[in-house]
Amino acid sequence: MSDPTHPHRPAQLHPGAWWLWSLGLGTAATRTTNPLLLSLLIAASAYVVATCRSRTPGSHSYSAFLKLALAVLLIRLVFAVALGSPVPGTHVLVTLPELPLPHWAQGIRLGGRVTAESLLFAFYDGLKLAALLVCVGAANALANPSRLLKSLPGALYETGVAVVVALTFAPNLIADVQRLRAARRLRGRPDSGIRGLLQVGLPVLEGALERSVALAAAMDARGYGRTAEVPPAVRRTTAALTLGGLLGVCAGTYGLLTAEGGTYGLPLLLAGVAAALAGLRLGGRRSLRTRYRPDRWDARAWLVAGSGAAVAALLTVAADADPAALLPGVVPLVAPTLPLWPAAAVLLALLPALLAPKEPS
């Protein structure tokens, strides 16, 4: 809840800045497996989330992402224990009974030796994935995806709304399941277990569908999808530009990736992108929409996005310069050390905590 004595809309940072910042951090996380650096990265993003997030329902999703990250880490470890690992190791922790498999499943091993090296490798690897997930979670908590929509070009707006409406489907579904399981209890049936969940399935889907139809009716009655008349020439040009642009992008990408297309690939790609953008811009003429108090891309947004990009760039450079520190080996077993300069670079991610507007508390 915001403070009623503070009626002004809190000066919000452009949601795109938060997404760029988070993606920057995510990229940085993929550059290293050093658990100390990764932990530092997670801690930095968590600190920023804790100080800057607004009190919207979406911001509560952060804890869900943290749980998901933990689950991913655990699953990675369980797989390493159960299915073995290609990492050679000498420090055997425990030997599980190995399941003999038929010859056609030669590549797979079930059970067997569990070495400290393989466990550690799985842990490093899992932690990297977990850090990536936490970064996405941070973006979600800091900037509601539907706010990002407001910055989409007019031609894409309607598709965007459809996507957001589809995204709210899942939370509503969960609320419905909870309500109907409570209703099962009222009928005197056990409210837990898979059977209970399956039996509420159909009513839940029915309810969700009815709600979607009601929402669609409300949106239609409120003018969603109103279009302006545009001359046929503009319409045709839009179609030609968009189609041509997309073809150009495809051909350009192909050219870039094949060996012999080096000369025409890049120019074709750029031309395609330009044509597609022009098509989008022209297509926006059909849309009547205006925007209410759009988020502005200001100096702070540049700094926030820049800090994320800087972390990504510095860690990429560091990974090339000092692979031993950023990608600590597991064979032989060594304790990872905290490389000083990359660690300082990660701390740059804390910049938004100082810059971003805070919610009045």
């Binding site: 009190r55 009222l186 003018g223």
Partner: protein, 590 residues
């Protein structure tokens, strides 16, 4: 402004048109109230104004509907969005964005208004509806009344010339409903907006209407006229009108004030033969338990009620033996001190909000208790705690000696049953028959129990065939089916959450008779409701909740009479005498 020319609507797969030969015109700047029993096609007419019928719902519309000169045949709902604003029954399904301010701006964005115009109108609307403090709040965290105001605000910002509202106050507590209606009146008076609204709770809205459109029965022609004239012929009417009809006043009063000015004679008449009436059993003034009883909560009630329900119709008597078969203790036994439920110092904290604080409550067999209070006061939380869906964070709940949240569901349903706000949640099967069979199985009752209960509760089972889908039932029928399902296990404590939402007066009267007989039969009943008229007719005791605390607990007459927002119309008209319902007055005059 709105013109219907010989309109009939036939939905796909329906043999008969839902509405037929509707022909009327709503002039600019009028507030027209659309009334009629459930299922006569009120929502269809409202939908036809915004063009959602038939563009969105399908079906065939014959005739012609024009709004501000635009034919809905050639204009889709989105092309009418700048002249018609529509708010449906459920405000939650109306919201596209997630904060108040964005929601207010959404419609204007779709219409492509200039940013500075949008900004100005949002500020104006925030002030008009008293939403300024909530502007940054996520909509999901608002109370029902606030959500309804946001929904109305969100269609106001594009400055539509016509506003169409379907039951705008049915989910609101009396104070919030008045707030919303005051806003509507302001729009009509100050901005000249044309308003067409449908509402079951006529007592709340009739005084604001310039004209009333009555749909007396399915397929019957629509009649439009001044409110007083229309109320004389309407099959549904609020208590104030009913009292006027009873007293033979003409023209009929529409507001409490009108009626009060004419009620002097009636008051005298009611006060005068006090001596002769005192000889009659006091039970006539149902459902108020005798004031003389030293403690109305502890056992005096069953006998009092035996007197009350004597005039119950033979029809409802018929099914009582069925219920009585296994119900213990029988009504005629001397009052047992055993409590149906005891709530001691219960507190509930949910999501960092203190929903209930230190609630003490006892419920005795045969007692009907109404839980009242504004939206979000904790009524539903208390019911859910009683039925074990919520574990109290402090204190203890005991239902027939058991702790609800620790009792396995199959056992619990024999002690307490809850009919939730949305009865549909309880119904999972494809047909009414399957639902009844499942209920028998769940309750380990003899096969056929639920079905027999249902046909007793709904004697006029025309149209209620066994293979109909529960969703195709009317609101009242669905509620009764849910009630039958819950009663199959014969719980001594019956809880109902907002039972009259969406019910017309006829369905409500049936429900009242039903619940009164159940109470006479020894069931303890707890109703959470905003409907003061229902509480007045039914409850022996009213408990007022505010912010999760009990702020009043006492006999209905005492609690509601002393509160201006919870007093029923009859009480207000006949004050200082303490009458609650038209039925009481009628009985006293007879």
């Amino acid at each position: 402004m709105i013109r219907f020319e010989d309109v009939s609507v036939t939905y796909e797969g329906a043999a008969e048109p839902t509405v037929r030969g509707v022909d009327f015109e709503v002039p600019e700047g009028e507030l027209v109230l659309l009334v009629g029993p459930s299922g006569v096609g009120k929502s269809t007419i409202l939908g036809a104004v915004s063009g959602l019928v038939p563009h969105f719902t399908g079906g065939t519309l014959r005739g012609r509907v024009t709004v501000a000169g635009r034919d809905t045949r050639t204009h889709k709902p989105r092309e009418l969005a700048d002249v018609v604003g529509t708010v449906g029954q459920d405000p939650l399904s109306h919201f596209v964005t997630d904060t108040v301010e964005d929601e207010l701006a959404y419609g204007m964005e779709s219409l492509g208004l200039a940013p500075d115009v949008m900004r100005r109108r949002v500020e104006e609307t925030l002030d008009l509806l008293g939403l300024a403090d909530l502007r940054n709040r996520p909509i999901a965290t608002l109370s029902g009344g606030q959500q309804q105001r946001v929904a109305i605000g969100s269609v106001l910002t594009p400055h539509p010339r016509v506003l169409v509202l379907d039951e705008p106050t049915s989910a609101l507590d009396p104070a919030a409903a008045e707030e919303v209606l005051a806003v509507l009146q302001r729009l009509v008076h100050d901005l000249g907006t044309t308003v067409l609204l449908a509402e079951h709770r006529l007592e709340r809205v009739i005084q604001y209407a310039d004209q009333v459109a009555v749909l007396p029965a399915p397929g019957a022609p629509l009649q439009l006229g001044p409110p007083a004239d229309m109320m004389a012929v309407s099959p549904v009417c609020p208590p104030v009108v009913e009292l006027g009809r009873l007293a033979g006043w003409s023209p009929l009063p529409l507001t409490v004030r009108d009626a009060r000015r004419r009620a002097a004679g009636l008051r005298e008449q009611l006060a005068q033969p006090a001596g002769s009436r005192a000889a009659q059993p006091r039970g006539l003034r149902a459902p108020v338990p005798p004031r003389a009883a030293p403690d109305p909560k502890r056992g005096g009630t069953p006998q009092a009620r035996a007197g009350d329900s004597a005039p119950a119709s033979a029809r409802t008597r018929r099914w009582l033996p069925l219920l009585r078969k296994n119900t213990a203790p029988p009504v005629t036994e001397p009052p047992t001190p055993a409590l149906t439920a005891e709530v001691h110092a219960v507190s509930v904290r949910r999501a960092r909000i203190q929903a209930l604080r230190h609630i003490d409550l006892t419920i005795t067999p045969g007692e009907t208790l109404a839980l009242m209070g504004r939206n979000g006061a904790g009524k539903s939380t208390l019911l859910n705690t009683l039925v074990g869906l919520i574990e109290p964070t402090g204190g203890s709940v005991s239902i027939g000696g058991r702790t609800p949240h620790r009792t396995p569901p199959p056992t619990l349903i024999r002690h307490v049953g809850l009919v939730p706000q949305e009865p549909r949640d309880l119904l999972h099967a494809d047909t009414v028959a399957a639902e009844c069979t499942a209920a028998d199985r769940d309750a380990h009752a003899t096969p056929g129990t639920c079905r027999a209960l249902l046909s007793d509760l709904l004697p006029d089972t025309t149209g209620l065939t066994a293979d109909i889908h529960p969703r195709d039932l009317s609101e009242g029928q669905r509620l009764t089916l849910a009630l039958a399902v819950v009663l199959t296990a014969r719980p001594p404590l019956l809880l109902l959450d907002e039972p009259t939402r969406g019910l017309d007066y006829a369905a409500k009267t049936r429900l009242v008779t039903l619940l009164r007989d159940l109470a006479a039969d020894g069931h303890a009943i707890v109703l959470a409701t905003h409907d003061v008229e229902l509480a007045a007719e039914l409850a022996h005791r009213v408990v007022l909740l505010a912010d999760g605390e009990v702020i009043a607990d006492g006999p209905t007459a005492e609690v509601v009479v002393s509160s201006p927002s919870f007093a029923p119309q009859i009480t207000k008209i006949l004050a200082p005498q303490q009458w609650l319902t038209v039925a009481q007055v009628r009985a006293a005059l007879a």
